[in-house]
């Protein structure tokens, strides 16, 4: 068999597939951020904490109430999304007229408080959460062993991402939303309740973060800091894709997962930096991001 730069093709395919899997987490998280920024102009720094809440809530449902993974997949986004709605109504809605910085500071503060509360209550080591029995095991693809759960994560996130994109770009509801961002007064004059739409949009973005948390619970360590570690990378993804661009967030999420996967083969030490290098280059060449409108 041929070799590519000293790497056998089997290993390469394996790493590409793994990159795609990681990319699906990036995609679903950056999608939530992009929706919130695109429609509310809020830089939601609490996104990582909301992702962590999603994973923890899945654990709590199982631990205290015996409710398993599949129900958690539905219940957790609804509950955490409702939490997001409360935050938006009580606090964020007062900041829309102010500079971006205030929203950023507020959500950052909220993130620190949430993380602190969870750390205080559950410690730092984390909680065990098993892969649902229906998705245990895996397939031998010849070039690698693909756990069924990872395959499920890729497929499921693709469906969620494309569904969200379709809803915002192609439906009447999405058209209202986009119009409301452009000119809230005018849209309000047509009898549409703009504040409520904005509130629900924030709740939806938060629910996406929580959904990613549930997806992550069986494969990553469920601990209070899990979101803080990931959120910086996800922000870089959003910036590369173009702040607020829905399709940009999805494509860059998956794409950067692939790039990161390749870096892990050729130069593992750089795998956490590569995304930021790309971000710097993109900002220099195309400051609005790959898919953003200047």
């Amino acid at each position: 068999m041929f070799e590519l730069l000293g790497i056998p093709p089997q290993a390469l395919f394996g790493q590409l597939l793994l990159g795609l899997i990681n990319g699906s987490f990036y995609a679903i998280l950056s999608l939530g951020l992009a929706v919130i920024f695109g429609l509310l102009n809020i830089i939601n720094f609490a996104h990582g904490a909301q992702y962590m809440m999603g994973a923890f809530l899945a654990w709590m449902l199982l631990h205290y109430l015996g409710i398993g993974y599949w129900w958690a997949l539905i219940l957790v986004p609804v509950i955490v999304g409702a939490f997001g709605v409360v935050i938006e109504r009580l606090m964020l809605s007062r900041l829309y007229k102010l500079d971006h910085l205030y929203g950023l500071l507020l959500t950052f503060g909220i993130a620190l408080i949430i993380q602190g509360l969870f750390r205080n209550a559950y410690g730092i080591s984390g909680m065990p959460y098993s892969i649902p029995s229906q998705l245990a095991g895996g397939q031998n693809l010849g070039f690698m062993f693909l756990p069924n759960y990872r395959a499920w994560v890729v497929v499921f996130s693709l469906v969620v991402c494309l569904g969200t994109w379709f809803m915002i770009e192609k439906t009447r509801l999405g058209a209202y939303l986009r119009a409301a961002t452009e000119n809230p007064t005018l849209v309000g004059a047509f009898g549409i309740n703009v504040p409520r739409m904005i509130t629900l949009t924030y709740g939806f973005g938060v629910a996406l973060a929580a959904l990613a948390g549930v997806l992550a619970a069986p494969v990553y360590s469920v601990n209070p800091n899990m979101g803080a570690d990931l959120i910086i990378v996800v922000f870089a993804v959003v910036v590369i894709g173009g702040m607020g661009s829905i399709l940009g967030a999805i494509i860059t999420g998956f794409g950067l997962g692939l790039v990161e996967g390749l870096t892990r083969v050729f130069y593992p030490e750089a795998s956490s930096v590569v995304i930021f290098v790309i971000m710097a280059i993109v900002l220099l060449v195309k400051p609005a991001g790959l898919f953003g409108r200047a």
């Binding site: 065990p128 570690d229 990931l230 593992p268 030490e269």
Partner: protein
């Protein structure tokens, strides 16, 4: 009054400061549990009846050496603290050791891993009680090779700590006749280890050594189970992992993992009895080896105070501690070496499969015991000025 003192029953005041991580990554393995352990030592010693009034204070050093140093100074200068115990995080521990020496007090370290505490930066005021990175590497690296697992691949956190752990273990593996087939350096902290694990898998090594810590180790183990690496016959060896990490992983993911510790609650009647009492006060949590080390260290310190009748000269107290053999239900019989290293047996454990576990915290089976004499880095050539 004079008559009372003359009778020899002068009450002695001893202040113990438990300095550790109360909110960060080491909060579960040290934290409040260490305070509880120190308190239990005072009660079990029956200090009050022996005329020693012990007060225990505690603080959070946030794993920062500067915070640890400030707190230690304040405790020694203003609060008359005589003994500082625990102090996880090597850099913080080294800072506290230096200040303890300057103020001539006593420092018993249980939580930190660096061999520097009894090496180049050893001090007449420091005792390093529970474990160190050399002992862990020796237990897991050396002992595993002897059981026949002699080809290794390292998954190493890409910073000083990970590199040191890898090179220590590598030396021991090769010294015992094993072979290292390769290594991969992962960014710290990492989230997804699957591609590194795949590289480890394709190396064909019998053992994948995890030269990382905390959340990185937990993630790597969780994902190794997911990718069927342990089921396919490769073993994972944790080079710095505690029972609280295994608890966080759950047995489903952690089964088969090999690791070294100096204490396990279910070793014998003595450890079980003490651990039950500990768990009662810690809402069911069993003690880590760090908690056990705090208990054992404080107990031995109080024995030395009782024997010398004076806690003002820290170096003299430590000298007395070194003269007396140590003995307690948790670590058995032992001694403190001239360089400050406490010697006791270390144990190589394997994590049980879920079916073999009888309940929460029933996690380990004993693979082998590493006798105290060979469990720690030899004092000769260790670089400690006290012995050269």
């Amino acid at each position: 009054m004079g008559l009372l003192f003359a009778a020899g029953a002068q009450a002695q005041d001893v202040r113990i400061g438990v300095l550790n991580d109360r909110s960060g990554i080491y909060a579960d393995l040290s934290g409040e549990g260490s305070v509880v352990a120190a308190r239990m030592a005072v009660e079990d010693f029956d200090a009050e009846a022996k005329g020693i009034n012990v007060t225990i204070t505690s603080a959070d050093h946030q794993n920062k050496p500067d915070v640890a140093a400030t707190l230690a100074r304040q405790w020694f200068d203003q609060d008359n603290v005589d003994l500082i115990v625990d102090v996880p995080t090597s850099s913080a521990a080294l800072a506290v050791a230096e200040i303890t020496r300057e103020k001539n007090k006593v420092f018993i370290n249980s939580g930190a891993g660096t061999t520097e505490l009894t090496g180049a930066q050893c001090s007449p005021n420091t005792v390093h009680w529970t474990y160190d990175t050399w002992a862990l590497a020796n237990g897991t690296g050396g002992a595993m090779v002897e059981t026949g697992a002699d080809t290794w691949f390292f998954l190493t956190a890409d910073y000083a700590f990970g590199h040191a752990l890898e090179s220590d273990t590598r030396a021991l593996v090769e010294g015992a006749g094993g072979q290292v087939l390769g290594q991969v350096r992962h960014p710290f902290p990492g989230q997804d280890f699957s591609s590194f694990l795949l590289q480890a898998q394709s190396s064909g090594a019998q053992v994948i050594g995890l030269a990382n810590a905390g959340g990185d180790t937990v993630n790597a183990i969780k994902q190794a189970a997911e990718f069927g690496i342990t089921q396919a016959g490769q073993s994972l060896a944790g080079l710095l992992i505690f029972i609280t990490d295994v608890h966080a992983l759950g047995l489903e993911a952690a089964q088969g993992l090999v690791l070294t510790e100096s204490f396990y609650w279910d070793l014998n009647d003595g450890t079980r009895e003490w651990s039950d009492r500990f768990a009662e006060r810690m809402s069911g949590q069993k003690p880590t080896m760090v908690h056990a080390g705090v208990y054992s260290g404080v107990l031995h310190y109080l024995k030395a105070i009782e024997a010398t009748g004076d806690d003002s000269d820290g170096a003299a107290v430590v000298a007395a501690m070194k003269e007396m053999p140590t003995s307690d239900p948790l670590f058995g019989e032992g001694e403190i070496r001239a360089d400050g290293r406490k010697l006791h047996d270390m144990y190589l454990f394997r994590v049980k499969a879920p079916g073999d576990s009888e309940g929460p915290w029933d996690y380990y089976e004993l693979v082998s015991t590493i006798p105290a004499a060979s469990a720690f880095k030899p004092m000769e050539g260790g670089g400690c000025a006290l012995v050269e």
